[in-house]
Structure formats: C-alpha cells, structure tokens
Symmetry: C2
Subunit: 260 residues, 2 copies
C-alpha cells in the first residue's frame, strides 16, 4: 500500500513516454492498470478492460446529460467534445478529449452524467462499465490511486481554463489553446506543430468564451504575423515559443509574489 501511495505521488506523465505506440494509444487505460511497484501494467487486467471496445461516428453521443452513470471511457483514437447546458439552451463546451484521455469521472459523485459527450470524428474507445471498474478496484488497489491522480490533474486543467476565461483576452485565449493542444499531442507522440483540428471554429470559440467570428479574426491575424499557417482545419504552428509567450503559458516556474 505504501508503494501504491508512492506511485500516486511520483508518477508523472512519464507513464506514457517510452511505451510502444500501441501501449501508448491505450494510455488512459494503461495508466489505470499500472501496478504499485512501478513495473509493467498487469496484462490480464489490461486485456480485460481493453477488450470492451466501441466505435462512435462523428456526432454520436458517448453519454448524455442526466442519464445514469454506467461507464467511464478511455479514448483510443479520435476525439470527443464534452459540454454542459443552461436552462435557456445556452451551451458551454467544457473540453476536447483526445487519445489516451479518460471521460466520465465527474459523474462518480452525482451518479449521473452532468455533461454530454459527443464524438468529433470517428472515435474508438474502451468503455469501462461501472460494475467492471468496481471489480477491478476490488482486485487492484493501485487503480484507485491512478484514478485519484487523473482526477487531480483534471482539476488543475479546469483551473487553467478558469484562469483563461476569467483573465485572458481573445488573442491570449487562442494562443493558449493552440499551445495546449500542441503539448497534448506531443505527449501522445503525435506531431505537435502540424495537425488537423477536429473541432469547428464555433466549438473552439464556445470553449474559449469568445464568438466564432473572433476565432476567425484572431487566427487570420496570427497567420498574417507568421505565427501559424492555416488551411481550413489543418494548422501548422510556425512559432510555438512566441505563441506560448503570447498565451502566458511559458513553462511557468514556481513563483512567490504577493496577493492583493
């Protein structure tokens, strides 16, 4: 149990680095199945989970608002958007999720899905039914720690988004967004500076709290200034450092300032 706790505190995203592409493709699941001693993931458990695969087409729902919580999902390939509703029909996109990421953990407490999840393109997932998760947890204590770590990380990511929405202007929001996406792709051993956006301008704007038109305008400006190259949803980051600086996400080291 001590080593499990150590795992919880010592493992970073390094769990992904150095894996074979295939293992890494299942990273979300793979992390779940890492044993307490820091060795290889338990293959039998890994198999047990990963056999439960499903494919969703563009626009399909992984889960819908208010439905009973029955499964969490680990994305194998493709991408998914999650969003929440207001009574009057307004929608807020709360996240875009790519290969290796886990979905549905925020439904554990309420026992029902608080958001909707919809595939942005053909997307392959491992569906992990709640019952099965329960069984896994019963047999393998360290999985709990892994879930805890993943949730802790999700909390941090949400707070970065809160910072963005509360304090950044349109330019900073988009720069932050592009760099964030780039870094996530890099972590999955995908090209960090040249990729296709699977989400529409409208989705991006909704997520970032700005209008679709503003997204277009700022992206056009970025292109004029040589920061990026764009052709429809294909994008190439020509000056990632400058974008990171613009977004205020330049590997911020710990700091010690005074609060107001």
């Amino acid at each position: 149990m001590r080593s499990a706790m150590r795992l919880l505190t010592e493992l970073g995203d390094s769990a992904c680095r150095g894996d074979t592409p295939i293992a890494c493709k299942d990273c979300g699941v793979y992390q779940l199945c890492l044993p307490p001693d820091g060795g290889e993931a338990d293959a039998s458990i890994l198999d047990q989970i990963t056999k439960n695969r499903r494919v969703f087409k563009r626009g399909d729902y992984l889960f819908r608002l208010g439905r009973p919580f029955h499964s969490i999902y680990a994305i194998r390939s493709g991408s998914v958007k999650t969003y929440i509703w207001m009574d009057d029909g307004r929608v807020q996109v709360t996240g875009f999720h790519i290969a290796g990421e886990l979905l549905g953990l925020n439904a554990i407490d309420a026992k029902s899905y608080h958001c909707e999840a919809r595939a942005l393109e053909t997307t392959s997932v491992c569906e992990i039914p709640f019952d099965q998760l329960e069984a896994l947890v019963r047999g393998n204590l360290s999985i709990q720690y892994q879930i805890l770590r993943i949730m802790s990380r999700e909390l941090l990511q949400n707070q970065e988004l809160i910072l963005l929405l509360g304090k950044k202007n349109a330019e900073e929001r988009l720069a932050t967004y592009l760099i964030g996406l780039s870094r996530r792709l890099e972590r999955r051993h995908l090209s960090p500076c040249e990729f296709n956006l699977s989400m529409s301008r409208g989705d991006i704007g909704n997520y970032l709290g700005i209008a679709e038109e503003t997204v277009c305008r700022v992206l056009s400006r970025f292109e004029e200034e040589g920061l990026i190259a764009l052709r429809r949803r294909y994008i190439r980051l020509r000056a990632p450092e400058r974008l990171a600086q613009l977004g205020g996400v330049a590997e911020c080291a710990a700091r010690t300032r005074q609060a107001g």
Copy 2:
C-alpha cells in the same frame, strides 16, 4: 469493499444532515471518516485527524504556490480564498471555501501546490499531513472513496464556474454567485438568506471575471429592484427565487436537448 463502493455512489450531502452541529462543523473531515457500512464515522480516526488543529488569521497563507504538497486542509470555521497566478502578475481567484470544505486535493498529482490559499478571516482548520493521510488510507479503504467523491464533486463545481465565465453576463454571474453561497451556507445549517460576505468586492469580481466596479453597480441595481438588502458586507437575500431564476440555476433537472 462492495459496500464501500455503494457508499461512494449513494451518499450525497446527506452525510451532513441530522448531525450534531459539532459533527457538522467538521463535516469535511467527518465525510472522510465514514465507514463502508454507512454507519457512524470511526471516532478514533476522527479524533486522530481532528486533533491536528491550526488557526490562521486574516491574510495568513494556508499554503503557497509551488511549495511541496504536504497537507490537505479541512475548514472547521472561517473562510479561505484560493487563487492562481499568471506570469505577468494577473491573478484569478478560483474559489472561496467555508466550513466543512476540503482544500489541497488538486495538489495530489503534481506533488506541489498549484494555487495559493489565504484566510479571509480568522479561520480554524484541521491540517491533515500527507503522511497521516497515507496511514489513514492504508487502514481504512473507504476513505479513498470519500476522497474520490469529494473530488468528483469539485470537478462539477469547477465546470459550473466555467459555464458562468464562458456564457453568463454580469447580472447572471452575481445572481449565480449569491445563490450558490446561500445554498452552501444552508447545507451547513447556517442562515441562507442573511449573512456576512467575508470577501471583498474586488475578490468577488476577480472570481466572477468582472471588474470590482461592475460588482458594485450590479449589487446596487439588485438592491434598487428589491432583490437584496445590502449594508457594506452584510447581505440579505429578499427574493432568492428570483435571484436563482436570474442566474439560471433554478434546480435544473435533467434535460434532453440537441447540441449544435
């Protein structure tokens, strides 16, 4: 273990209701210590945690940015604000925390505090050192589930804030804020319609992504319209239902609409 999982999925905030005021004052801790069978909290563990008390004065730091993660904190009385930094000095308040709430869980993954926490008034907490938490978890499996539930709930709360910041106007933000605070106080058996704000207008505005001046203006308008009564930091909600409606937080039941 099965019953622990059941506890995880079935316990709501009801853990607080019906408790004695004293037990409820320690609610954050109390929830942690609930046994798998749904009975009373383990008194010995409860004692073990709650003996580790500290008092912070207004302006004191509970923890600071970048410092190694060493403890989580359960607030017994008083209130705390948490906030994060940008490189250029901009600050985003990420939350206000009152009695019964738990702090520091988002530091589990990174092993260091990602935000700063500062007392808004004289505040009494139970400090739970990481080592001690580790020991507790080792001896009492259900504590892990309770942490999981609390984190899951925190994720939901963050997403509500993201919705607010991304889609609501100034009036809706303040209405949402007041109702949210009112409901949290009610849950702790405190007066839901008449209370003192422990945070400044500046803090409120920062949290809600609007200027301090806008906070004043909107609150003044609310007062003119008979929604609230104000005198400095003392506030009385005169029409909570109308505020809830205005904020778009009217007990939103599960809905099934189409996404764009």
